[in-house]
């Protein structure tokens, strides 16, 4: 609308729908309303305890003012491969709840993204909530993002969770969808750091943009997850 790319007859403000709001921390998962803002993710004390990776990533999105309004739901539902949260949600193995005229259904974040701006959500559905499993106590985590400056999308970013016999790695802005590699997680869980990085790299398909040519992105796509893995490992407790 603002960019003169769409002319719409109606504008619906979703902010007043209570069901789309709220951060609820359960025993083994967290339920997040689609209209929860990045700022709320950061400010919520309990969430920072339960899923610290979420807070670490949210702090690296845009700037303070944008985080006050930018919603988690908007970030993941848009299907923009530049966005940070889709990869993060795949790393965390989140489930999206979408609601249509008749029913609601659950879609795994790892199954949601089809190509840039195309997702498993139907036109008559809206994303309403996100369910994020709480990682086991002592799980190491890191969100590493290379960017040119605050406010920029990632040149390359990696989300890592690693615990006893378990690991998950996802990457951002390195293909037309977020990149989550099952093989990379398996390798890292087995303690094979280089194998994990190689597996993740096998899954990317970066495009040239103002952040650099493909070969640059391929290279930093190897560096960034290594750093994320090292930082996550350093945080493993117990």
């Amino acid at each position: 609308m603002k960019l003169r790319m769409a002319v719409l007859s109606h504008l619906v403000n979703l902010r007043d729908i209570p069901d789309l709001q709220g951060i609820e921390i359960g025993a083994d998962s967290v339920s997040l309303g689609a209209m929860v803002t990045q700022h709320e993710l950061i400010a919520h004390a309990g969430l920072g305890e339960a899923v610290p990776l979420l807070r670490e990533a949210a702090l690296q999105i845009a700037d303070s003012q944008v985080r006050y309004l930018g919603t988690l739901g908007g970030n993941v539902a848009n299907g923009d491969p530049d966005n940070d949260m889709p990869g993060l949600m795949q790393c965390l193995d989140a489930t999206y709840q979408v609601t249509g005229p008749d029913d609601l259904r659950q879609i795994q974040a790892r199954d949601f993204y089809e190509s840039a701006y195309f997702t498993a959500r139907a036109d008559d559905e809206i994303l309403t909530r996100l369910m994020v499993p709480i990682p086991a106590a002592g799980t190491g985590y890191a969100y590493e993002k290379q960017k040119r400056k605050i406010g920029d999308y990632a040149s390359a970013a990696a989300a890592v969770l690693v615990g006893k016999g378990f690991a998950s790695i996802a990457m951002t802005n390195l293909a037309d969808v977020p990149v989550w590699s099952a093989e990379a997680g398996v390798a890292l869980a087995a303690g094979d750091r280089e194998g994990a990085v190689s597996a993740a790299l096998a899954a990317i398909d970066p495009q040239e943009d103002m952040r650099g040519p493909v070969e640059f992105k391929r290279h930093v796509a190897g560096v960034v997850p290594r750093r994320a893995i090292d930082r996550a490992l350093s945080r493993v407790a117990g």
Binding site: D63, Q146, R148, K149, I150, G151, D152, Y153, S155, M210, R211, G212, P213, F216, H219, V220, V223, V224
Partner: protein, 508 residues
């Protein structure tokens, strides 16, 4: 974003150079050829007498006996080009060119570049200095500035730390290199003398008109217009010192062409060197009349009173004086034989020469070889703008100009595709630094007044841009120098720095 997309916003120069020197480092000659991209059509405020702009300062701070300069202007399918904000006459390129030439020469001669500069700097006693390109540099004390700068950052210790870092890098203990950028720049601003400079035939003098009110307050109108440089503050300070009335009682008015005296405006650090000079000259006309009024009131000859801060005092008798405020009242309200009532003056100032500010910048940068990311650890900026009117404002200009330099050197680019489409049309892709990552600057100064400017001022706005752009770039070059790098192409954003490291075989 309309500005970079559709107006003259940036310079686009391709510079080639050759430099000649004796084996012991004495520079004997310089050759420079520039290809200047002017976009779809030329929008430069080109002085018609010097269509290349002021590339004429490309010999920099050095005593170079012979120099040759040539320029080709090229039109392309880009937006109109050639002009940039802050440093509109392309002195930054000149500084970039000569500073890179010096560094390369130091490599070829296997000399320390700081020492190579010392050998070749124009000495203090050589000023006014006639340059090989035909310009007369007004004043400078480069050796003092250089030594002060190197001492301030602890240059020798920095080099030791850098050597240790290099050893650690080679031993695989770190993936970060350390680079030290050094520049000593000489500026040419204060455009300018009508005999040399014009904009399409318009002479580049400037103007000031001052009216003292009977109350002792005053209004000054100038031919320039402030864009944030603080004219209303600093020009009042010039008048305060010249006439002895408090700056707080002096109102400045600019930008209304119905009331302002004719002038050429604000750009290229010319406001203080030209309009500021006009302000001082107009004030001095007023003070000359004030002296006659004071002498009359004190019943002595004109020559028997002398100026003392804010008053004329009878020579030899401090108790007999008339303050500027008293004189202002008397000028209107007391009949003085032979003098018109009132106290006002106007000056149209055609400067006898350009002014030549100078300075030294030193940058310490950490560079991540694997990602091309950098961190500016330290940036020292010594500014020699002559007499300092408002130190706070000058330092603010240094911070701002150096930050622009940081942007230009480290990421800013107006990129086009082959069809002439603009690829950097948002403030995300067109790199503007944010609070996060922008260096903190140590501003320092030396004072070498201009001998021909009424208050010795040289102008401060452009200098930090002129010196900092090569300084940031050279910090990058310096980090990779042990591996054979001599030059790179700006901007040194992440992928270009990464590419330097890759091309030098530094990636595993």
């Amino acid at each position: 974003m309309d500005n970079p997309m559709s107006t003259a916003f940036a310079r686009d120069y391709w510079m080639q150079g050759k430099i000649a020197a004796t084996k012991d480092g004495q520079i004997t000659g310089l050759w420079c050829h520039t290809t200047a991209d002017h976009g779809g059509f030329d929008a430069c405020a080109d002085p018609t007498k010097f269509p290349a702009g002021f590339m004429n300062i490309c010999t920099g701070s050095h005593d170079i006996p012979t120099a040759h300069l040539s320029v080709d202007g090229v039109n392309t399918n880009k937006a109109l080009g050639g002009v940039a904000y802050r440093c509109s006459f392309r002195v930054t390129q000149a500084a970039y060119f000569i500073e890179c030439m010096i560094e390369v020469l130091a490599i070829k001669l296997n000399m320390d570049a700081t020492e190579l500069r010392r050998i070749n700097f124009i000495r203090k006693d050589q000023f006014p200095y006639q340059s090989a390109l035909g310009w007369k540099c007004d004043s400078g004390d480069y050796h003092t500035a250089w030594d002060k700068a190197l001492a301030a950052v602890g240059y020798d210790d920095l080099r030791k730390e850098q050597a240790q870092r290099l050893e650690d890098f080679r031993a695989g203990k770190t993936r970060k290199l350390m680079g030290i950028g050094l520049t000593h720049f000489t500026e040419i601003v204060g455009a300018g003398p009508v005999k040399n400079c014009d904009i399409l035939g318009l002479g580049m003098f400037d103007s000031c008109e001052i009216r003292i009110h009977p109350t002792g307050s005053a209004i000054a109108r100038l031919g320039t217009i402030s864009q944030g440089q603080g004219h209303a503050t600093t020009f009042a300070q010039i008048i305060a010192s010249e006439i002895g009335l408090p700056a707080d009682d002096i109102t400045l008015e600019e930008g209304d062409t119905d009331t302002a005296p004719y002038g050429l405006g604000t750009y290229g650090s010319r406001s203080t060197p030209v309009a500021g000079a006009a302000t001082a000259m107009a004030a001095r006309k007023i003070r000359a009349k004030a002296q006659m009024i004071a002498a009359y009131l004190l019943k002595v000859h004109d020559g028997d009173v002398e100026w003392d801060v804010d008053r004329f005092v009878v020579k030899g008798d401090e108790s007999r004086f008339k303050t500027a405020k008293e004189i202002a009242f008397a000028s209107y309200n007391q009949a003085i034989p032979g003098l018109e009532p009132g106290l006002e003056a106007v000056s149209y100032y055609d400067p006898p020469n350009m002014t030549y500010p100078f300075g030294a910048d030193i940058c310490v940068m950490e560079i991540d070889v694997d990602t091309g990311e950098h961190e500016v650890r330290q940036f020292y900026a010594l500014d020699g703008c002559g007499t300092r009117i408002n130190p706070m404002i000058i330092e603010g200009q240094v911070h701002g100009g150096a930050t622009e330099g940081y942007a230009i050197a480290m990421g800013q680019e107006i990129a086009y595709d082959d069809m002439g489409n603009h690829k950097t049309a948002t403030l995300m892709d067109f790199f503007l630094p944010t609070t996060w990552g922008t260096p903190t600057y140590q501003a320092d100064h030396t004072v070498t007044p201009s001998p021909h400017h009424p208050i010795g001022d040289k102008g401060a706005g452009e200098s930090p841009n002129v010196g900092s752009v090569p300084c940031f770039s050279k910090a990058v070059h310096d980090a990779f120098r042990p591996f054979g790098l001599t030059q790179s192409h700006m901007p040194d954003d992440h992928w270009r720095v990464w590419k330097i490291a890759r091309d030098l075989g530094l990636h595993r």
